[in-house]
Structure formats: C-alpha cells, structure tokens
Amino acid sequence: MSAAVNASAGWGDVFAEVNPYSISATGIGLALGLSVLGAAWGIFLTGSSLLGAAVKVPRIRSKNLISVIFCEAVAIYGVIISIILQTKLTAPDDMTNVTRQMYYAGYSIFTSGLTVGIANLSCGICVGVTGSGCALADAQNASLFVKILIVEIFGSALGLFGVIVGIIQSSKATFT
C-alpha cells in the first residue's frame, strides 16, 4: 500500500493498487450504460422506419411495436443485472486489509457487468436493424411480418445469453 516506487514494481502492482470496489462499481455502470445504449440505438433504428412506413400504411403501427418492445427488454435486462450486482457491494468493517476475496469479487462483478453490457449492446442493435426492415416489409406485404419476427426473436435471445452468463460469473462474488 505504499506510494514509493519500487524497482521491481510492475503492472501487477498497478492493478493491485486499484480498489476492488471501484472496479466492481465500474462494471455495474457499464452493465446499465451499455445495455441502455443498445436499447436506445435499437429503438431509434426501428422507430424512424416505423414512423415513415406508417404514414402510408397505418395498420402496421401496433404490430411493429413488438420490435420496440424487444429493444426495451434489453434495457430491462441491464437494470436487473445492475441491481443484482449492486446488492453484492456490502461495506466492509476494515478497509486497510484488502483480501483475496475482495479482489475476486471486484473483478468478477466487473467482467459480469462488461459481459452483460456488450451482449445487450449488440442485441439491441441487432433487433433494431431487423425491426427497421420488418416495418418496411410489413408495409408492403402483410404476410412477411411473422417471418421476420422470428429473426428478431433469435436476435433478442442474444441479450438473454449475456444475462445468464453474467449471473453465473458473479454468483460467487461477495465482499465480506
């Protein structure tokens, strides 16, 4: 814990000096931030096409809101994960002694948050691009909607994969 520069200090020492609480808090922030980014991206991708296509063909409005709901689900996954992870951040009695357990908890919560965040980001974008195509295709030919919806369902499963792995990654993390 000393600030003196040691001749044999290396990158390991740099990482060891960073407080595990801050690392895990960053992970929680990433989980929520990237998930919401993905959801928002998906919604604007779908929404702009939906608005334009609905001018000519108003019947597509209600059905194609499903694409927007799939994107929204991605943001909800992010919220759930960040709440679950946040409950693991219990305050310790003694901060001078950083134990191995705390390092493990810090890193596992960080990577769990990163996993969920990036998975949800990709999922949101995927569902958004597909939803945009779905709105345009549905406007031209109503029978195409259900078929393209199946593509979107597979896309939204990606977010779930991220959530599952994230929960497994952080299951053994406790700070005390």
Partner: protein, 372 residues
C-alpha cells in the same frame, strides 16, 4: 453484387478494405438517424407505383373517363376530380406530374444533408432543360411568362423569374452564373460568346455532360451501397447518352470532334467504345463500336429483330430494370433517384395508353414498359 458479375472486369478486383467494411457497418448503424424517415416515406410511395394488374385494367378502358375511374382506385385517387370532361391527355399528364412533384417536395422538406444535396442533384437534370428553354427564349425575344409555364415543375428554382428580366445577353449570362445552381456547369464549358453562337442542343448536351460527371463523383464519394447502386445506373445513362448523340448526329452538321466532346466520360464505354463511336458514320459503325459490350450488343440485336420495339423503348426498359433493382437493398440513397425515374416512366406509360385510347388505335396499346 450480382449485377457486377455480368460485366467483364476490366479493372482490378477490389480487395476487402477495413475502412470499406467500417463504412458498410456505419450505414447499418447510422443511416436511420437522419434518413430513416424519408426512406420509409419513399417506400410507401413506391408501393403505389402501378402494377401489371393496374395496367391490364387501364388498357381495357374504352374512354378517358373510364381511365379516370380506374385511376381512382390506385394511389392517384381523385386527382382528376376537378377537371371538366371531356378529358384531354395533356391534362392527365399535367396532373400526374403535379402529384409526383408534390410527393417529391414533401420528401425534400424532410431531408438533411447529404440526402438534401442528393435530391437537388436529381432535380438538376430538369433545371438544365428549364434554363436552356429560358435562355433560348430570352435570346430570341419570346414571351417569358409563356415559357415559364412550359418549364418542367421538378426543375423549378427560386431565381427563375430573374432570368426573364435580363436585358442583354451579358446580363443573362452573369445571372445564370451567379443565381442558378447550374453556375458551375456553365463556368468552364459554355462561354459567354457561345450563348449566341452554339446550337442550343449542343449547349444542353454540354451542360448535361458536366452534370452527369459531377453527380457520378458525388455518388462515388458517398460510398457504400449508394455508390454501388447509383454508379451502375449513371454509367448506363452516360452510355445511353453517347449512343443517342451519335445516332442523332448522323446527317447533321455536327463534326466528329464536336460530337466526341459531348460524350460523358463515366460509362462502361469509356474510353474504347467512345473512341469508336466518335468515328462512326452510320448505324453499322455504331454496331461495330458496340460489338465488345454484351449489354448494348444485346439491346441492338433486340431492336433489330423486333419490328415494334424502337431503340428508345429498349433503353427505357433497361433503365427501368436497373431502377427496380435499386429497391432490393435498404439503407441507401439510390431508391430516391430510382423512384423519380420509375414514376416518370409510369407517367409516360399512362400518357401512352391515354393517347392510344383517345385516338382509338388500340393495336399498339400494350407497348408500354411494365415496371412491377
């Protein structure tokens, strides 16, 4: 794309570049921010283009009033409501064009850069026709208000009325350079003295060549799917212009040098085909020049063996096919250009059918170009 396989590759095949992939990804991710709404509106318009079923109904009409009834069930709706009967084909043409212009104006109002610039490029073609009409009228002292009514509505711009008040040729030239969007096309190509001396058709073709090359470079700079789709279409336009200029110049006093100067140099025919076309003296020369280009050889063969089809029709058909293909991809600007061209073709079809019906000559009524 499947289209590029049909053409022999005279250039090196392109390597996959990371920046190109990044631009493809950026299209997917960022196109809808600014251009998603206009594209979706445009696809709504596209679904209203008349299909073969609509044309089948129209060709069976007995009179223009029947046509009006059938057109009411299509996207055109009640556009002919306030016209007094008996209808004339010119009235139908005007109203159809008016609908296209209104749709286009709505679209333009929703757009940001660079889609705005792209749509302006689409209208410059009509602006060239209008400006040439007005300049010619001003030089020969015609009534400007009459000419303003004859202008193509898609090519209207604000400073048109000022062109009418120019007193001398010099004023006119300066006004055209400064006020109109065509200034850059006039600057190097058409000098002040040429306005009086050059044949009006030569001026029009010179301007069109400059415009086409400019548009092509703009689309290339946009890159991605837009470049892919638009460059294909514009190359065909350039080639078609070259062939038409060559054929129309037989028997006129246009020298071969002058003819060569009017060819836009962006098509597949550049440089060898244009060299040979520049030297051609008659249709056999043209056929020999196009021997090495399978697409145009095929078109010329079709025209030779089919008595009813003219070269013009064959070109329109090929252009309609290229424009249809633009709709096969999402997230690019080519659909906007293709829509305007296909709507124009549809208006030509409707007017053709209307003329055949009104003149009671139904033998050739099925020679319209089917679109969808």
């Amino acid at each position: 794309s499947p289209l590029t396989l049909a053409r022999p590759q005279y250039t090196q095949p392109q390597r996959v570049r990371p920046l190109a992939m990044a631009s493809a990804l950026s299209e997917l991710l960022f196109f809808n921010t600014n251009d998603g709404y206009p594209e979706a509106i445009l696809r709504g318009y596209r679904s209203g283009i008349l299909t073969t079923q609509d044309y089948a109904n129209l060709t069976q009409c007995e009179s223009l009033d029947d046509m009006k009834l059938h057109l009411q069930c299509t996207d055109y709706g009640n556009f002919l409501q306030n016209e007094p009967s008996p209808l004339a084909t010119t009235v139908i043409h005007e109203r159809c064009l008016e609908k296209l212009v209104n749709d286009f104006k709505y679209l333009r109002a929703q757009c940001y850069e660079p889609l705005n610039k792209f749509l302006e490029y689409v209208t410059i073609e009509y602006m060239i026709d209008n400006v040439v009409l007005l300049v010619n009228g001003a030089l020969h002292g015609r009534d400007m208000n009459e000419l303003l009514e004859k202008c193509h509505p898609l090519g209207m711009f604000e400073s048109m009325a000022t062109l009418c008040v120019a007193q001398t040729t010099e004023d006119l030239y300066k006004l055209v350079l400064e006020d109109t969007p065509l200034g850059p096309y006039f600057k190097d190509q058409v000098k002040f003295e040429d306005l009086d001396e050059m044949n009006i058709e030569v001026i029009r073709n010179t301007l069109y060549k400059a415009y086409l090359e400019d548009f092509y470079q703009f689309c290339k700079k946009l890159g991605g799917v837009t470049a892919e789709v638009m460059c294909e279409i514009l190359e065909f336009e350039a080639d078609r212009r070259c062939i038409n200029i060559t054929i129309n110049s037989f028997g006129t006093e246009l020298t071969k040098d002058d003819r060569r100067k009017l060819f836009p140099e962006i098509g597949t025919l550049y440089p060898e085909g244009l060299l040979r076309l520049g030297r051609a003296d008659d249709m056999d020369g043209v056929k020999a020049a196009l021997e090495g280009f399978p697409v145009y050889r095929g078109i010329l063969n079709d025209v030779e063996y089919d008595a009813d089809k003219s070269l013009e029709d064959a070109f329109y058909e090929h252009a309609a096919n290229l424009n249809k293909l633009a709709f096969m991809q999402q997230l690019h600007y080519g659909v906007f250009y293709a829509f305007v061209k296909l709507k124009e073709q549809e208006i030509r079809n409707i007017v053709w059918i209307a003329e055949c019906i009104s003149q009671q000559q139904k033998t050739r009524i099925n020679q319209y170009i089917p679109i969808f």
